[in-house]
Amino acid sequence: MLALILLLIPLIGSILLFFLRGSNPGVSKNVALAATLAEFVVAAYTFANFDSQTLIEVKYAWMKDLRINFHLGIDGISLLMVALTAFLIPLIVLSTFKYNYKNPVSFYALILLTEATLMGVFMAKDIFLFYFFFEAALIPVYFLAALWGGENAPRITFKMFVYTMFGSLFMLVAIVYLYMKASTSNIQELYAAAKFIPATSQTFLFWAFFIAFAIKMPVLPFHSWQPDTYSESPTPATMLLSGLLSKMGVYGLIRILLPLSPMGVENWGMIGMILSVIGLIYGSVIAIQQNNIKRLIAYSSFAHMGLMAAGVLSGTLSGIQGAMLQMVAHGINAVGLFFIIKIMYDRTNTRDLQGLGGITQTTPALSIYFMIIMLGSIALPLTNGFVGEFLLLKGVFDKNAWLGGIAGITIILGAVYMLRMMQRSMFGESNTTTATFSDVKGTEVAVLLPLAAMVLLMGFFPNVFLKITEPAVNSLLQMIHP
């Protein structure tokens, strides 16, 4: 029941918004915020009542003759993602309050639709339902990015759309193949049936799923759409893409790829890991040279996703647990960093590091928030990034010591580009544009405070989160290595 409510609240919210056409923008903002906060409350309630599956799970017959069901449920892995989505989206909505986007009704309706489809992806227990929501999540984000973005946004976001859909179509072939072989589309039953699929077919399954998820995350060499799209999209769309949609890719790796083609992972996982680590280093090196701060964070996001992908493909407990934790951590950090960049752009009208400097002299509060979130991104101990990155590196290292060592360079590179960005923008000499930088207040603080708090909370008490996902991850691993 709760799963269905979680899916319906944002959906009903977006339909409700449609009836508010023509009223003043403040109304749509408040309705959207109310809907997302209601979602957060329900998610919190689900979190508390996680043990009673009967309260949460929902199963309806959808296509009777094909035995495909509308089956939603939440296990440990899904719970963390549902919680992340429910936590981040009210903050994303809140971050837009100070600005007036044109056509606010459509704008907020699209954000709510994205939330609904994201919830669907993370809660789907039927593989066709998963695919349905996976593809559907792209549509509202595409319109958000294309219609409210920069000059080149329509062309660039269209590239992202076609690229992602192309990958998803490969996944469709794999799913149809699995469905034919196993005569079921229930994910749990598919796990059991996957062991009997011959190794050659598993190779095909591995690559079909990997391409689809690699385009989504992105992972080298399918990443060419990402930096341009993140830069040209409006900040809320970038937050959604970087904070939540890229996590769909990692979630897909854990939920679908790993258990459904175990032999494929054994034979080809290494190549996937190598690609991910190359992407990790490549993204970090480019980020070091970036002067456009939005692109810098975009490349940093690409780098972090590389590490997560490598960790998952290692197939170890630490790797997957690390990926789970890092998904939450990176989601929080990415949203925070993109918001701070938006604040800077709004005040100074530039995203170029060479035009910024000395902001900290007039903004003590912003400096503190920026520092905390940035240190979380660098993975300083006692921040949220640390435990996740450490576990991921351990997972990669367990699989292959050399690869783990190379991936470990990320710690250094991450520190370089982040600290460089911080130094160039916040410290140093202030110039005419930054001299009048006003500090954050009001809704901006309301967004940054919870994010910074979560960075520290997760850093101090990572076990709270690790314990949630451990049983589910363990049972998943047992399916792969019995």
């Binding site: 959808w62 296509m63 009777k64 003759d65 094909l66 066709f128 695919y131 349905f132 929501f133 593809e135 559907a136 549509i139 319109f143 294309a146 219609l147 329509p154 269209f158 759309f161 076609v162 859909m165 192309f166 179509l169 490969f170 469709l172 072939v173 149809v176 193949y177 469905y179 034919m180």
Partner: protein, 464 residues
């Protein structure tokens, strides 16, 4: 059977209604007649039977196909605005011919005898030839009509040739007898001209549904005909054609599946490749939709490749999803292209859709949903249509065909998005477009149908 009778009579009545001074009564009358036929159609639900000395068989499947045909016709005729704004038009004749063509289409869905198939194909085709050239002052229309007539007559000739050879092999035109003969004779005892007959019959039918390489008439004919009749051609003729192809292959020739599946697979791959790659570079929206219809013929043929007990469900669903989406697309085009004239004829390029979201957000939304449905994006009926045909092909293990289809779907996403981008992200005229209430209702029905079937495909699939 009853819709055939009803429509024949009402077609004649419509002709006579043309004698009245006021032409305004023709549109409501025609809509009423089609509704009558639609209701009469369901009289035989769950009561299968043979009529006209076993030349026509009515079964639940043929009733469903007929229902789709009549529903599409209702929507298209509703979009025609009764031809009142054109003083050279002859609405009574047009509506009468449309009803007669529906008779032919219905015959194609329920034939039991090859002669009945031929009669149905001919009635439908000749009606379409006439309607294509109905705008006499339009050079393109004349060219289109002549092309359609010549190539169509040629194709019908081939089809007749095939039927004659099948008669020679089976000593009967009845399709069940053909099946009995095939089951009783071994493959060594079958004459060669049986296979030639099957091939020619299929070629004739595949021409009608514009499958490659028999599709070369499609872009010019679709572009030259008045858009309302193009809509009719691309939905009704296709649905009827595929009903006929499915029927003849399933009832008569499924025992020799191993003979004809290769041909169908090749035609399928050619249709998908040629149509999608050519559609990418089209500037005219109408021509793009013509190539899109060829690609959808390819997708529907995939269901026929995977001949199974689920194929009839897939074809019914795909026809319905495709018809709804195409009617929406042409409906939007008709109303938008009339605003701007180029050389005295409506401008039908994709750029005429620029800025549609500001001129009429409702129309832009309709266009978006129809393009998404044709592209096969989830949340629309077109996605499930493609999913069902992909499943049918996978059932037969034709993975390479599946891979081609999926790659071509990805190409399709590119050109189906061009109109959406034009409507939402390009600047156009500022003039607001007004719609009549009937227009709004019909476009609303098609879009609502696409989304409803996109969420609950079982509404249609559960009927069988």
């Amino acid at each position: 059977m009853y819709p055939i009778l009803v429509l024949s009579i009402t077609g004649l009545v419509t002709l006579f209604l043309g004698f009245l001074k006021s032409k305004k009564v023709l549109l409501p009358a025609t809509l009423f007649f089609i509704t009558l036929a639609f209701l009469a159609n369901f009289y035989d639900w769950n009561k299968p039977g043979l009529y006209f000395s076993s030349m026509l068989e009515v079964s639940n499947l043929s009733i469903l196909f007929t229902a789709i045909l009549l529903f599409s016709a209702f929507l298209i005729i509703g979009l025609s605005k009764g031809f009142l704004d054109d003083e050279h038009a002859q609405p009574a004749e047009y509506f009468a011919i449309l009803q007669f063509s529906l008779v032919g289409a219905i015959m194609m869905t329920s034939f039991q005898n090859l002669i009945m198939l031929f009669i149905g194909v001919e009635i439908l085709s000749v009606s379409m030839y006439v309607l294509t050239g109905s705008d006499k002052r339009n050079i393109r229309g004349n060219e289109a009509a002549l092309k359609y007539f010549l190539m169509g007559a040629f194709a019908t000739g081939i089809m007749l040739f095939g039927m004659a050879m099948l008669y020679g092999a089976n000593y009967s035109f009845n399709i069940s007898d053909a099946r009995a003969v095939l089951l009783q004779t071994s493959s060594a005892a079958r004459p060669v001209y049986l296979y030639v007959g099957v091939t020619f019959l299929l070629i004739g039918l595949l021409f009608k549904v514009s499958a490659a390489p028999f599709h070369f008439w499609t872009p010019d004919v679709y572009e030259g005909a008045p858009t309302i009749f193009t809509t009719f051609m691309s939905t009704i003729v296709k649905t009827a054609g595929f009903a006929a192809i499915y029927r003849i292959l399933e009832v008569s020739f499924s025992p020799i599946y191993n003979f004809w599946w290769v041909m169908i697979v090749i035609i399928c791959i050619l249709s998908l490749l040629i149509s999608n790659i050519t559609a990418v570079s089209q500037i005219s929206f109408k021509r793009m939709l013509a190539f899109s219809s060829v690609s959808h013929a390819g997708y529907m043929l995939m269901a026929i490749v995977g001949l199974s007990n689920k194929t009839d469900d897939s074809i019914v669903f795909y026809s319905l999803a495709y018809s709804l989406a195409t009617i929406s697309a042409f409906g939007v085009l008709m109303v938008v292209s009339q605003e701007k004239l180029v050389d005295g004829r409506p401008d039908e390029s994709i750029s005429v859709l620029n800025g549609l979201s500001k001129r009429n957000p409702f129309l832009a939304f309709i266009l978006a949903i129809s393009m998404l449905s044709l592209a096969g994006i989830p949340l629309t009926a077109g996605f499930w249509g493609k999913f069902y045909v992909f499943s049918d092909v996978a059932y037969r293990g034709q993975i390479w065909l599946l891979v081609v289809a999926i790659l071509m779907s990805a190409v399709g996403i590119y050109y189906y998005f061009k109109p959406i981008i034009a409507a939402y992200m390009k600047e156009g005229d500022e003039e607001f477009i007004t719609l009549t209430p009937l227009y709004k209702i019909i476009l609303g029905i098609t879009t609502f149908g696409s989304i409803l079937l996109g969420l609950f495909p079982d509404l249609v699939r559960g009927l069988m």
